[in-house]
């Protein structure tokens, strides 16, 4: 009897579970169908609004009669029309045209007020969404309300705020971000990449402010970040700051300083470039890499010999960067290449051959087959012979197929038909 009771109980429980599952399935099916139907209806209305108002807004923006339509565009927050209008206006705003007119529409129909109120929402997604919208609306008015949000504990809020401030692009916003950088980075509230991507939006007007903060901060991470951002602008204004950091104890700072120098391309005297060249023997590989790149960009001839030494660096990225840098010196680097190709190790040779092929230096070598200077001719030919012996001869065959100069073709054929490799 007791057993029967237990079995009945178990059966009942199982039946109840089955019924519950069936109910949930039915609810899910109903919810799926209902959602599909409601979304379809909503999208139809949205499309209709978008089509109707889009043309109207374009006309007003073109004719400068924005104030006339503000009343017509206004609608209760979160209505379908409100969302349709917002999408249209944000799309226009993303193009960067009619910025002032769009700002007055955003403010006139209440979007800015609405989202500024949402900045105090407790839900982080609502808050982040409002921050993002304000950024896209590009109203300077919101900058002061956004800056305090950089103190938020939630990385998501901080990241969206940084991005929005950069979209608005006001100097106060940039100062706000730069002021908070040490705190944001030390507490991992934002990634370096986010700051780099965002600050680029402020444009070259941000250089003086970046320099100011680059001098102010002592934390290596902040310094490196600011130097990296400055390198993106390729401005000579940042060179003094970069030079003062070439001997910084942190390798990241040294490499970023070199990047600024390499990007600036001019405005440096010899003594300063010598300081940069000294970093070709830095113990850290990525500092040597940046030094090679910078000297190549600056085309600093006195560094050719030092770059030649870097061709046998134990790191292949540094070797390739040095070879690439040397290709920028044209015939002046022939003897360096030849020296390494004749005597040094296989890996160094491969790096040189790769970079010669990958840049237009191979064309320089081909052209040198016509050179009047015998020394240039001989060195170039020897390099080509070594390249052939190392099986880096695809460009030779290509030139034979498509090249026009018969003398060069003749020389290349001789090299290709050589049975004996030159002494390597």
């Amino acid at each position: 009897m007791k057993d029967l009771f237990t079995r009945l109980d178990l059966k009942m429980i199982l039946v109840i579970i089955i019924l519950a599952v069936v109910l949930v399935i039915m609810a899910l099916v109903f919810a799926t169908i209902f959602r599909r139907a409601s979304r379809s209806k909503r999208y139809k209305i949205l499309d209709r609004h978008r089509e109707f108002f889009s043309n109207k807004i374009i006309e007003c923006l073109e004719s400068g009669t924005v104030s006339n339509i503000i009343e017509e565009l206004a609608s209760p927050p979160n209505s379908v029309k409100w969302h349709a209008m917002q999408e249209i206006l944000l799309d226009f705003s993303a193009t960067g045209k009619h910025r002032e007119n769009l700002k007055s529409i955003f403010m006139g129909i209440g979007y800015v007020d609405y989202y500024e109120k949402k900045l105090s929402a407790r839900n982080n997604i609502t808050k982040a969404s409002a921050i993002d919208k304000l950024g896209k609306m590009r109203c300077e008015r919101s900058t002061d309300k956004l800056i305090p949000l950089l103190k938020d504990e939630n990385p998501e809020i901080v990241i969206v705020t940084v991005r929005s401030l950069s979209k608005i692009g006001s100097p106060a916003g940039l100062r706000g971000i730069l002021e908070k950088i040490p705190n944001l980075l030390s507490r991992s509230l934002v990634t370096v990449k986010t700051i780099e991507t965002s600050v680029a939006n402020f444009g070259s007007a941000s250089i003086p402010l970046l320099i100011e903060y680059g001098e102010k901060y002592h934390d290596p991470m902040c310094k490196a970040l600011i130097l990296e951002m400055l390198s993106a602008f390729g401005s000579s204004e940042a060179i003094p700051l970069a030079l003062s950091h070439l001997n910084h104890q942190d390798p990241e700072v040294r490499s970023k300083a070199l990047k600024v120098i390499g990007a600036a391309c001019n405005g440096l005297d010899d003594s300063l470039i010598t300081q940069a060249a000294a970093l070709l023997s830095d113990p850290v590989w990525f500092v040597r890499l940046q030094a090679a790149k910078a000297l190549g960009n600056l085309r600093y001839e006195k560094a050719i010999e030092r770059l030649g030494d870097t061709l046998i660096d134990n790191n292949w990225q540094v070797r390739n960067a040095a070879a690439m840098a040397l290709t920028k010196f044209g015939n002046r680097s022939l003897h360096i290449f030849l020296g390494t190709l004749l005597y040094k190790d296989r890996y160094a040779k491969e790096s040189i051959c790769e970079e010669i092929q990958g840049t237009d230096f191979i064309d320089v070598l081909f052209e040198n087959m016509n050179a009047k200077d015998v020394c240039v001719y001989k060195k170039s030919k020897q390099i080509l012979e070594i390249m052939k012996s190392l099986s880096y001869c695809t460009p030779f065959h290509e030139y034979l197929k498509t090249g026009t100069d018969e003398k060069i073709k003749y020389e290349l054929e001789i090299i290709l038909n050589q049975e004996q490799s030159p002494p390597i």
Partner: protein, 476 residues
């Protein structure tokens, strides 16, 4: 004798009952977590900065690695789709893994490639490289021709050749959506904890209309088997992986579409050769390495970047694929068994690995043996017909619930199948897959377990797509 058999069967029945109770409870928890996570994620997408990254010079460069073995029929389509992604700096590296058909010639002809001399640095050990091919007018395309040694070796070769800090693996029969790569990279750039691997969603390409190598219309395939797999993929990606991702407990990122930090992969020695599920093995290795070195990290799954890939349309090929997947799961679990229940590995050791062992790996074995046991119980008179029916109904309805939940998640999130007809068909297949399809799947996975026990651990040849338009996708 009969009495002992009855006792054993009763005990096993209890075990099966409790096991399924626990498994279904875990699934329900996972589903709830996924539901909450995905709804939040969908809201977050609205302010995702991926469009900003599309034009930013600070977006990290990526190498798209496409290993190819005998893919002459489809490789061009895949490469064109990869070359057309919206991403600021990327290179496409196709690794021809010693194809015996005309894959290389097809590539040379289609992209007017020329042989290129280039140094090959064996950072990860691989078989020999025969040559490099490129076209100056397509500077971000490189073809590597190498000796045949299998997919893991081809991927390692691609890593050696890659010059970007990140690489994305894509199968040779897959098509990337234009924004898929940038969407996959966004959490990597945005996360304040280093994201060392990130996987996207894989969906069935079968039945889709293509125009100029891009998807022009999303349709459901004619093949019933392919539609079953669509429902299955929705369930697996939208609630399985989303739920595990919420706990940083992802052990499987599909090899068809995943992004990795190159330095992290090189640190663990790259893909392991002779493993039939090299993608899973790599992820476990990454977890293990980061935990052992006490480094903060994330391995993420993101549900909006989509890669469309061919799925098998015949039972034979599907069976081979599923056996291979399960065999790979078992191999990886055995290779990294030290993590199991090991508190040193935190939640990976104490929850994620045991979950994969007890739920993913053992469930087909328990399920198939459970069917046998239920039949035996009925024959021996231990189980009443009424109870048999109740248990069966519960199992089927729970399966329908999971499939319907997957379709519901798709509807509230990405809604890729736009027509009413698509929705109704998916809902119907969500019900139908519990009458045969799910059971046969368990049987294939059970077979894989047997194969592992008897030592048959080779890669089974799988041809995807329909038999009339078959796409070779075999691996030696």
């Amino acid at each position: 004798m009969r009495a002992s058999a009855i006792y054993i069967i009763i005990a096993f029945n209890y075990f099966v009952g409790i096991y399924y109770g626990i498994v279904n409870l875990l699934y329900t928890i996972l589903l709830t977590i996924s539901f909450l996570a995905i709804v939040r994620y969908i809201k977050r997408i609205k302010y995702s900065p991926f469009k900003d990254f599309m034009s930013s010079r600070e977006t990290p460069p990526v190498s798209i690695l496409i290993p190819a073995y005998n893919e002459e029929k489809i490789i061009i389509r895949t490469i064109r789709s990869a070359l057309s992604v919206n991403y600021p700096f990327f290179e496409v590296i196709v690794i021809n893994d010693g194809s015996t058909d005309n894959t290389l010639q097809t590539l040379i002809h289609a992209f007017q490639l020329r042989k290129k001399d280039r140094a090959y640095r064996k950072i990860l050990k691989t078989t020999g490289v025969k040559g490099f091919y490129s076209n100056v007018e397509l500077p971000n395309l490189l073809i590597v021709d190498k000796e045949n040694a299998g997919k893991p070796d081809a991927l390692n070769c691609g890593i050696n050749v890659s010059r970007s800090p990140y690489f994305c693996t894509v199968d040779a029969d897959s098509i990337l959506e234009n924004n898929a790569l940038i969407r996959l990279m966004t959490p990597v750039v945005e996360s304040t904890v280093p994201v060392i691997a990130c996987g996207g969603v894989v969906r069935a390409l079968n039945g889709l209309a293509l125009k100029d190598e891009t998807i022009s219309e999303i349709r459901l395939p004619e093949s019933r088997l392919a539609v079953f797999q669509i429902v299955e993929y929705l369930r697996a990606f939208l609630f399985g992986r989303v739920g595990l991702d919420a706990m940083n407990g992802i052990l499987i990122l599909s090899g068809a579409f995943s992004l990795f930090s190159k330095a992290s992969v090189i640190e663990v020695g790259g893909y392991r050769a002779r493993n039939v599920a090299e993608d899973m093995e790599l992820i476990i290795k990454l977890h293990r390495h980061q935990i052992e070195n006490k480094r903060p990290y994330k391995i993420k799954f993101v549900s909006d970047p989509i890669c469309w890939t061919e799925v098998p349309e015949t039972l034979t090929m599907l069976g081979r694929q599923r056996r291979r997947w399960h065999l790979g799961l078992i191999q990886s679990m055995v290779q990294h068994r030290t993590l199991l229940f090991n508190p040193r590995y935190g939640k990976v050791g104490l929850f994620v690995m045991p979950y994969y062992l007890l739920v993913e790996m053992l469930s087909p074995v328990v399920e198939v043996l459970g069917y046998v046991s239920v039949v035996c119980s009925y024959i021996l008179g231990i189980l009443s017909f009424e109870f048999l029916l109740i248990f069966l109904t519960l199992a089927i309805f729970y399966g329908i619930f999971l499939s319907t939940a997957g379709i519901y998640l798709e509807e509230i999130t990405y809604r890729r199948y736009p027509k009413w007809g698509h929705l109704m068909r998916l809902l119907a297949y969500g019900v139908l897959e519990n009458f045969g399809y799910r059971q046969i799947n368990s049987f294939w996975r059970f077979q894989a377990a047997l194969k592992y026990i008897v030592g048959m651990r080779k890669w089974e040849h799988v041809e995807k797509g329909s038999p009339d338009n078959r796409l070779a996708s075999s691996r030696p």
